[in-house]
Symmetry: C2
Subunit: 213 residues, 2 copies
């Protein structure tokens, strides 16, 4: 059912939240949860939650609710979490280093294999036991090592070029932190983290709530 | 018109993109732009763009298009960009330091005034000439200094508590990087940057495109 590609973007984007909240429940020793309880946690309606999970065949039992561990495992499988993805980061500045250092990703099976930069001052510097490599060596590296996900943390002026190099050397998933929209063909997965857009949105709501109150 | 609070979230979230693309056009010496040209850049339809901008009274002229500088300035005003927001960061780990170091924010009028952490090893360390302060001093700091935006870059276990401290000391806008949903009352502006949810979503599309192709 996940292969028909008909699951809406909105559903896909709610799945990580279910995954996260179910993890929190399990950590607190709670193994059984109703759609109503999930509703209180996530802020989505109970019927929305049941509908979302029905997309993937359900997993709930009438009168019992959901088995939290089972549901979390299934969502993890659907999302492809814990598949041991090999990750490289291009751009080893503040954001690139922060991504490399973020322990949570390693726990979920995303393994950073290398960082690349063009700044000679960063060459040889180590982040989490990973030596920063010269970006000129990127194509050769990609011909030798299997990489699933390329993370782009470069200035926006070069980010499209970096994406092109990654894709022409076989990478099929790009996580972009550069504050621009990278253009890729249909068969490439891309996700943007546009921090500045998030900050501007916050500024808007801050300003407008101030005016309202 | 921006005061009635009726502009939809979806419109608000497109505004930063218009702002960014208009800035790129101006940098390239392009001062006049049609909704069709904006459509090609942003990927939104021309009618969507015209409708969005009509929410704020328009700014376009029939047969001429939009004056890029004027339109960008107006959107900036609507968003509240360049209002010289005073920002503090709680949690001076990788993400907190990356946010503090991100030059783009300073250019747009968001000024980081201080970082706070509870790790004694970080005390006194300087990020961009800002000394990392003890989180125990946060309430006193907030009583003395006006702060618009509190950025939360702590572990998720303490993020709600940090938010409560910020809010009870007068902060009305929170930018949250902790991988959890912080609960705030209606009058507080909050924006989340959930990096792990973005990465899981990427993993999903990567996995499913692989299956489709």
């Amino acid at each position: 059912m996940t292969k028909n590609g008909k699951i809406s973007d909105a559903v896909i984007r709610r799945l990580p939240k279910y995954y996260r909240y179910l993890g929190d429940l399990l950590k607190n020793g709670i193994n059984r949860v109703s759609s109503n309880e999930l509703s209180k946690l996530t802020g989505f309606t109970a019927s929305q939650i049941r509908q979302d999970l029905n997309n993937f065949g359900g997993f709930g039992q009438q009168g019992y609710g959901y088995d939290a561990k089972n549901l979390r495992d299934e969502i993890g499988k659907i999302m492809g979490i814990n598949n041991n993805y090999q990750v490289i980061i291009v751009g080893a500045g503040n954001i690139g280093q922060a991504v490399a250092n973020y322990a949570g990703f390693y726990e979920e099976g995303f393994e950073v294999k290398a960082l690349f930069d063009k700044n000679p001052k960063l060459m040889g510097l180590k982040i989490r036991d990973l030596e920063i490599k010269d970006i000129d060596d990127l194509p050769e590296y990609l011909r030798e090592v299997h990489v699933d996900i390329g993370v782009i943390c470069t200035p926006k002026e070069v980010s499209q070029n970096v994406a092109n190099i990654l894709i022409s050397n076989g990478i099929r998933a790009i996580w972009n932190f550069a504050p621009t929209d990278i253009k890729v063909s249909e068969n490439i997965a891309i996700e943007n983290v546009h921090m500045n857009e998030s900050l501007y949105t916050l500024a808007y709501y801050y300003k407008n709530k101030k005016e309202i109150n």
